[in-house]
Subunit: 427 residues, 2 copies
């Protein structure tokens, strides 16, 4: 196809207008929803010091960084996620700010994944964070923004659901089952993979990596199948370590119910999220048919700001990428058709009307209308074809006879109807 | 100030909400104006093969590239300008497209300038291009977009002007003065610097680098002072090499006059533009007080698409950055105040109304209103303070007595007026 000797880098996208339109459709919806929730938009640089990511985000992300040494001998990376930049920005200025802080951003993010064929190395990601509030109302608020972001694009409870968990609740349950404190990290990492493993392999890993006996394994696997908070209350409600965690999670779900979003939310203790910095409630949004990767992931990260040298502040947020979401919208036929459109196309009949057309076009544009015309002298027929191709709603034909009476012919391109109007009418 | 141990990279900007608001203010104006002219938005990747820039943009830009070798051993660069990406994208697809192509973009661009202290390494740049039309109407259209972009932000003819020239006209004049064909490039490069040189140095350079004698130098310096096309016609109108170029330039200026933009445009043959790929009319926009660097630069580049392997297509476009423009807006007091604003802030009087508040907030947001509330239980006084801080226009107080009658108290935060309204009224 491409005849150019210069190729796009692998894993990057071009956005010609028809693709840019979908990108804008998604990002505009994200922005509208975030502003409805009272969030303020921010951004940071696409390039940051490598330091900011190393040790903060777990080894998994560090291996995949699009990192390099710059001409000033600095180790730098194209940002792979936004949260470290957010934490850096807030670390320097949060002390003077009223809490909670409601901020959102739509950065382009980058990863360098060597082995994956056909996988992108960049995407745009909606980041929404509440900083400075530790209660579950903040967790619920953030998940509600994510859900409404998808609803705004036409997706409903039949299309997607949020699977929610709480690392604190899961930890308390694992302790109650008998997992040793120092084995909790290992347990999380097995649980993170459990959906993709055959049951025997999972059981084996729980025995070997977490030190559980057969009964313990059975109990843990039972927990991971739990979808009902009441059942957990029945079994663990009397355990003094577990009960407060269950209570908190119940309040979280009740908050989402009060917002009318209960149908979108499903308890699922298998959701732990890979990133090391999560500390509490975590969630992922999936398409109901389970064919795509997660649409969105997020959770509470109460220690990150302190880690990058800022004020200790609780925080909760999510990231939602545009690639999987774009696939889901396409599957559900929710991608709007791209159509060029214009308010007016101006057609001077002869060269003599050209100057008049230029002046009129500029006046109409000054009043906020979109206007185009041929950039060279052409016959009326060719100009009318251009008008149709550019999606003009109205064509204004400037002929010598009509102009002599300060009038033009306006053609409605939908109905084909033509009428003469006074120049003064155009506003 | 900053207490974080992690610093932003030198030359990059953070955009906390108050700064993001100015960025959005500028970019929204750019987008509105481009769409009024019938342009379609596109984008490319922020990272491209180094090849795309080397030899295409002149040595000047290559030295300043933010370039590196990636993990796949590719020589790559953060894009320093958009035109090469545009040319690459069009090279692969322009053959099937109707001409002229009207595209615009607002990329973030990057340069690595070693020596300059305090100079930025990134900026956002509005790129507007007409591809596939060689006539001066396209040149005029593109300059009109640039001028209207500034007018849309509140700047007028007293604030800025476009200095316009034509490399073809200048070449024909230089040839007529006696500059040898192989010295034209050298002459352009002296002319590009002439404003920043003392007259004696300029004269010396014209003698040494361009091979002019004293009379020739005087004639060229006279040309560079010309601001009046009629005077050029009088002196050179009979020269058969120069006359057609003067005619073309007159048509260009007449087109801008017909648009009502004559007051913004000034002939200035000293404008040649550094980049090697310009081939015809070139222009720069400056603040009238001459205190700032150029706000915008552009021109015709008829050979670039072919150079990157595409269809031979004439093209004209410009780039306008956000940094100098931001300085000019600040000087002219045209930066809008950043104020948080919300349609509603909801105040549940006791914990019992909290659930009701969550449901009402979600309903209002679903109807497109911006809504916030405290994310924890607080007294009414503290909640009212948050409402004021978040810029709420209306506070809805949810008290037990009013709710029992399906009513709430609405407080207008501008007038302080309070009235009871039915829940059903809120839409």
């Amino acid at each position: 196809m491409a005849t150019s000797e210069f190729a796009r880098l692998p894993g990057f996208r071009d956005f010609p207008p028809e693709d840019f339109a979908l990108r804008a459709h998604i990002q505009d919806a994200w922005g509208r929803v975030a502003r409805r929730y009272g969030f303020h938009q921010y951004d940071g640089p696409p390039l940051e010091s490598l330091d900011l990511y190393v040790e903060k985000s777990g080894e998994e992300i560090v291996d995949q960084l699009y990192s390099f040494v710059d001409k000033g001998e600095r180790e730098v990376a194209l940002r792979p996620e936004m949260t470290p930049s957010l934490a850096r920005i807030l670390a320097a200025r949060s002390r003077g700010m009223s809490k909670p802080i409601r901020w959102f951003s739509i950065p382009q993010l980058f990863r360098y994944e060597r082995q994956q064929r056909g996988r992108l190395r960049e995407h745009f990601q909606w980041n929404v964070d509440v900083v400075g509030e530790e209660g579950v109302a903040a967790d619920a608020e953030v998940l509600a923004v994510a859900i409404d972001g998808l609803r705004e694009l036409g997706l409903g409870a039949e299309d997607f659901a949020a699977r929610v968990s709480d690392r604190r609740l899961l930890s308390s349950l694992l302790r109650a089952v008998g997992v040793a404190e120092e084995r909790l990290g290992g347990a999380f990492s097995v649980i993170d993979k459990v959906e993709r493993l055959p049951p025997e392999t999972a059981a084996e890993l729980f025995e070997r990596e977490v030190g559980l006996d057969a009964t313990g394994v059975e109990t843990v696997l039972g927990l991971l199948d739990a979808v009902d908070l009441d059942a957990l209350f029945e079994r663990w409600g009397e355990d003094e370590r577990v009960a407060p965690e269950l209570e908190r999670f119940r309040e979280y779900l009740a908050t989402l119910d009060a917002m009318g979003l209960g149908a979108y939310v499903q308890l699922d203790l298998r959701i732990v999220r890979g990133l090391a910095y999560y500390t509490g409630i975590v969630f992922e949004l999936f398409d109901r048919q389970g064919e795509l990767r997660a649409i969105c992931g997020g959770g509470r990260y109460d220690r990150l700001l302190e880690l990058v040298g800022g004020e200790p502040l609780p925080a909760v947020g999510f990231g939602m990428g545009d690639v999987v979401l774009g696939e889901l919208l396409a599957e559900r036929a929710l991608v709007p058709d791209y159509e060029a459109s214009l308010d007016y196309f101006l057609v001077p009949v002869t060269a003599a009307e050209r100057s008049m057309a230029l002046g009129l076009a500029h006046d109409l544009r000054d009043r906020g209308h979109s206007v185009s015309y041929a950039l060279r002298e052409q016959g009326v027929g060719r100009q009318m074809k251009s008008a149709a191709r550019e999606g003009a709603r109205t064509v204004l034909v400037l002929g010598p006879d009509e102009l002599a009476r300060d009038r033009v012919v306006a053609r409605d391109m939908t109905t084909g109807e033509e009428r003469e109007i006074a120049l003064a009418e155009l506003s």
